[in-house]
């Protein structure tokens, strides 16, 4: 792990209280040492001149420079993206779980903020929906940098509560954002499997690229409990007093079965799926996003030509 990445660890991020600063910290840290985006396009903002090479669009030739210097230079602008990315962040009660470092909710909102910051920096249009059993708050798609504030407001839920109704939320999101774009779902996916799959299918059928960040706590994945414990459901009304050591194997079996089912479903829908532990550095999520976006870019370019 590089020195820069040191600051992307959840333990470090936790110390930064404000979400915008967190996002900035994470993204700048992530980007430092990386080359800038190699994609150039039609944009308002001029970036640089470059000598003409065969195959360049003649429209891009800066004729004023040719007139002064009798050389062909092309003008390059920062790309003016047409990517519309909607962040769907789960803020239901189950996201409240977290022991030690970031809770799932905190991790998910930090991740969403980071993505928004990154996208807005790259002139993409970002929208945000926070939801539980219904849509809590919505931020429309905008490209302006100060749009980050409204996105952060959307994410700022004082206390995650209520159950999750993922199908309804996805359906509403599909209606709200009819133009094909990218849908990023950040959730622990402790929901009804059938509804989830239906929702994802709906989004895909509307032409959206869908990416799922599955956020789970270490405890949920490893189940390290010892000693008599009383488990009380965050979303479900059940509770269970037991010796967790005895139930661990069965629990992990059930969990793994669930995870593989979700993964299988996503792959079937051509949905990008990333499982994230809350103890994992956020840059992993960003790297996953970027590689995915590269795929989107290629797809969209291929589509335009």
């Amino acid at each position: 792990m590089s020195d820069a990445n040191r600051f992307l660890m959840p333990e470090a991020i936790k110390r930064i209280a404000r979400l915008d600063l967190r996002a900035r910290h994470v993204v700048e840290g992530f980007l430092s040492g990386m080359h800038r985006s190699p994609y150039f396009g039609q944009s308002v903002e001029f970036l640089q001149h470059r000598e003409y090479a065969r195959g360049d669009d003649i429209r891009d030739v800066d004729w004023k420079v040719w007139a002064k210097q009798d050389r062909y230079y092309v003008k390059q602008y920062e790309e003016d993206t047409n990517l519309r990315c909607t962040l769907l962040v789960d803020v239901s009660a189950s996201m409240r779980y977290g022991d030690g470092h970031l809770s799932k909710y905190e991790y998910a909102s930090t991740l969403a903020a980071c993505l928004a910051y990154l996208l807005l920096r790259q002139q993409d249009a970002v929208g945000c929906v926070s939801f539980d059993e219904t849509t809590r708050m919505t931020a429309p798609l905008r490209t302006k940098r100060n749009h980050l504030d409204s996105i952060l407001k959307t994410l700022d839920v004082s206390r995650p509560e209520h159950k999750t109704d993922v199908l309804g939320v996805l359906r509403r999101a599909a209606e709200r954002f009819p133009r094909p774009g990218m849908m990023v779902l950040v959730s622990d996916l402790l929901v009804e499997r059938e509804g989830l799959m239906k929702g994802l299918k709906l989004l895909r059928s509307r032409g959206h690229d869908v990416m799922v960040f599955h956020v789970l706590d270490d405890d949920e994945l490893d189940f390290p409990f010892n000693g008599p414990t009383r488990f009380e459901g965050l979303e479900l009304p059940e509770h269970l007093a037991c010796n967790p050591r005895a139930l661990r194997e069965g629990y992990l079996a059930a969990l793994n079965e669930y995870l593989s089912e979700v993964r299988r479903g996503c792959v079937g829908q051509r949905v990008d799926y990333v499982l994230l532990r809350t103890s994992q550095p956020l840059d992993a999520a960003l790297a996953a996003y970027l590689s995915n976006r590269l795929g989107v870019r290629h797809r969209s370019r291929g589509g335009r030509r």
Binding site: Y97, G227, T229, L240, R245, G250, L255, R277
Partner: protein
């Protein structure tokens, strides 16, 4: 129900409830977790409920059992024989056989073997009292074991051990001291075996507490068989040795009259023997003597080599007839009982002697009579009586100490019979041959082919030719009591004896291999001159020449004749009953002629001096006489029997009862030697000081060690089970790396 070595620790079994308690406490203070992924938890719980419950229950039980096993292992349960376990009523019977022979009075450093033994008995009692299950106790001293004429008298017989038992035992032991008996363990083991019978319903432990002297255990085949028989019956044997090393000890082993005529006023030679049982020589050991309660000069033993007996002689002289006491005493040493020796010497008023002469002149008889009773001032106490052969068949002979036959040609058949009876009963007979004797008649009446009184057959009178060249004495004597007085010096008187004629024996005669006949003096030519043999309880000496100076010149002006006849008289004289040695513990028997005494005999023991002295009724014996027997001869000393004659006069007879001197041999055998003697017999041997150190050793198999092994096994299983029920977090760094990749 097994018993425990440390019964109070059994309360520790309550600790077995600890795991349950811990479980309950844990249930109360469980932590609460608000949990999102309840769905999977519920699935798991539904699937595992039964198996998990079972496993946890098993773990709980295993832990409780492990604690219980640990507690039991520390408390050390003892399991008895299978029968005892089956019936649950197993009881222990402690049989203590206590050696109280006088060697147990061995003292050292403020204690004695007996004190050590009593302390061991007390410890056994205390240990028995601590037990939960019923205990019984039997205590038998060796000296109280059953013997001839006496029943076994245990100090305690199947006494129930209760809370006051140790006090009772202490009181009993306080009264017990080392006896003067020399009883060995054999009688005690035999008695207890007979007294208690089979041990089916109890665990019997026999403790043999003794000093294990080499004397009793060197030839221990019988003891080994007895102990092996006990062990075969399932009896646990504990042998406890009360002495750790042998100490030197001196013992008076003999005090008796030497040969010689006993009569009032006549000096008598006594012999006293001291044996050194130690390994170092002793010097200048005085033996203090008392005659009838009056001190007399002590006899000093200059040197006593180790493990040797030395005999010294001294003279006693009592002016009056009757029984006289002589007591010898050594300075006190580690064992007191063998420092005393008691003797009773019977001095008759005179010693009646019968001389039978065949000739009317009675020449031989007169010479013999003169030699036996030379008259004042040489007092011999002998009163000879000269009679013809007819006297033998007509009068009782029992009163005579010795009968002399001189120059007798022929005897009546009844006379021969009476003579044989007399000698068989212990009388002495001397036969002098002479001119009147006929070889055929003598052989027929007295020799009777070796079955008669005469030790050798006769052939015919023979001449001993005078040898004028060689100056060899005619008499050639052997080392015999009769001639011992002449031994060691060149006795000119004996060499002056000339024998001219004698009765020859057949040339081929030799004493038969089994017979007691032996030639005690020969003539110059090798022909036997004097031959002796034992006949019944008495003795016979035959001389092949005359007593009077007819065939020889011995009696003529030669004092050696008188000396030889006196010695012969002393040698042949009837042994008085009072000189017989009585041992402590053996019954004192008294034979009374029928019709002469009242059957009630009052005995006086050395301790009581007439008060409360036991009275014994004499019972008729098969031969018609009355026999009174005193069984309680537990101490050494002089016992008196008071007899009442039918005419109303009373008579007192005295008997000396002495300890068995061999018991004073304190040589002990070691544990290894004992092990070799008792090979094949399972027993536990230890020193008294070490007895009971390692806690009570009771019958039964101690399960403590076995339980420890079980515990180790249980803990292993518990660990495996607990491991399978526990979560073990994987190496975090590895997982984190994997996740990042």
């Amino acid at each position: 129900m097994p018993s425990f070595l440390y019964p109070p620790l059994v309360w520790g079994l309550l600790l077995a409830g600890l795991p349950v308690l811990i479980h309950l406490i844990n249930m109360m203070r469980h932590r609460r977790v608000r949990w999102a992924a309840m769905e999977f938890l519920l699935v798991s719980q539904k699937k595992n409920r039964t198996w998990v419950l079972l496993k946890q229950l098993l773990l709980l039980l295993l832990r409780a059992a492990a604690i219980a096993t640990l507690v039991l292992a520390v408390a050390q349960p003892l399991v008895r024989n299978e029968l005892g376990i089956l019936f649950g009523g197993s009881r222990t019977h402690h049989v203590v056989l206590l050696d109280d022979s006088f060697s147990m009075s061995d003292r050292w450093a403020g204690t004695s073997a007996m004190d050590e033994a009593k302390s061991v008995v007390q410890r056994i009692g205390a240990m028995a009292q601590e037990r939960i299950e019923p205990q019984r106790f039997t205590l038998l001293r060796f000296s109280q074991a059953g013997r001839v004429g006496r029943d076994t008298q245990p100090d305690m017989l199947e006494e129930t051990v209760d809370s006051e038992f140790t006090d009772l035992l202490a009181a009993k032991l306080h009264a017990i001291a080392a006896s003067q008996s020399a009883a060995g363990p054999g009688e005690a083991i035999h008695s207890i075996d007979q007294l208690l019978g089979e041990s089916d319903d109890e665990n019997r432990i026999v403790y043999l507490i003794s000093d294990f002297r080499a004397r009793q255990w060197d030839q221990a085949d019988d003891l080994r068989n007895q102990l092996a028989a006990l062990a075969a019956k399932g009896v646990a044997l504990h042998l406890v040795n009360c002495v750790d090393r042998a100490q030197p000890n001196l013992a008076l082993t003999n005090l008796a009259a030497a040969s010689g005529t006993r009569a009032a006023g006549v000096p008598l030679v006594m012999e006293v023997t001291v044996e050194n049982f130690g390994d170092a020589p002793a010097r200048d050991v005085p033996v203090i003597l008392e005659e009838d309660g009056h001190a007399r000069p002590a006899v000093k033993f200059e040197s006593l080599p180790p493990r040797r007996a030395v005999t010294e002689r001294f003279l006693v002289r009592f002016p009056t007839a009757g029984q006289h006491q002589i007591i010898a005493r050594l300075d006190s040493d580690v064992v007191a009982a063998d420092n005393y020796r008691f003797g009773i010497v019977d001095f008759p008023v005179d010693v009646p002697v019968l001389i039978v002469d065949g000739s009317l002149e009675a020449q031989d008889a007169r010479f013999l009579s003169a030699a036996l009773a030379p008259g004042a001032p040489a007092q011999t106490g002998i009163s000879p009586r000269i009679e013809t052969p007819r006297y033998l068949s007509l009068n009782p002979l029992d009163a005579y100490q010795v009968i002399y036959l001189a120059n007798v040609d022929r005897l009546d058949e009844s006379a021969v019979e009476a003579l044989e009876q007399y000698v068989k009963a212990g009388g002495g007979l001397a036969v002098f041959l002479g001119p009147r004797c006929r070889a055929t008649i003598v052989n027929e009446q007295l020799y009777r082919d070796g079955k008669g009184l005469l030790p050798m057959p006769l052939s015919a009178p023979a001449e001993l030719l005078v040898d004028r060249v060689e100056k060899t004495p005619d008499l050639d004597v052997t080392d015999h009591p009769m001639f011992r007085v002449f031994a060691g010096q060149r006795n000119t008187f004996l060499s002056m004896v000339n024998v001219s004629r004698y009765f020859a024996v057949p040339d081929d005669w030799r004493p038969a291999p089994g017979s007691t006949a032996r030639v005690i003096a020969r003539l110059r030519n090798g022909a036997p001159l004097a031959v002796e043999q034992a006949f019944g309880e008495g003795r016979v000496i035959a001389v092949t020449t005359t007593a009077a100076p007819v065939w020889n010149n011995w009696a003529t002006n030669n004092p050696s004749f008188v000396v030889a006849i006196q010695e012969m008289q002393a040698y042949l004289a009837r042994r008085p009953a009072a000189t017989k040695t009585h041992l402590v513990g053996e019954p004192l028997g008294l034979q009374l002629p029928p019709g002469k005494y009242e059957p009630k005999v009052r005995f006086t023991t050395p301790e009581d001096d007439g008060l409360g002295s036991p009275s014994v009724d004499a019972v008729p014996s098969p031969d018609g006489s009355l026999v009174a027997s005193l069984a309680q001869t537990d101490t050494s000393g002089v016992y008196r029997a008071q007899l009442t004659a039918t005419d109303g006069t009373s008579e007192v007879r005295q008997y000396a009862v002495n300890v068995d001197p061999l018991e004073g041999d304190l040589a002990a055998i070691s544990g290894e030697q004992l092990a070799s003697r008792l090979e094949g017999v399972p027993y536990d041997y230890r020193q008294a000081a070490a007895f009971g150190d390692e806690g009570p050793q009771q019958a039964g198999y101690n399960l403590g060690t076995a339980l420890l092994y079980v515990l180790v096994g249980m803990l292993l299983v518990e660990q495996i089970l607990a491991w399978s029920c526990t979560y073990h977090p994987p190496n975090r760094a590895k997982t984190a790396g994997g996740g990042a990749a």
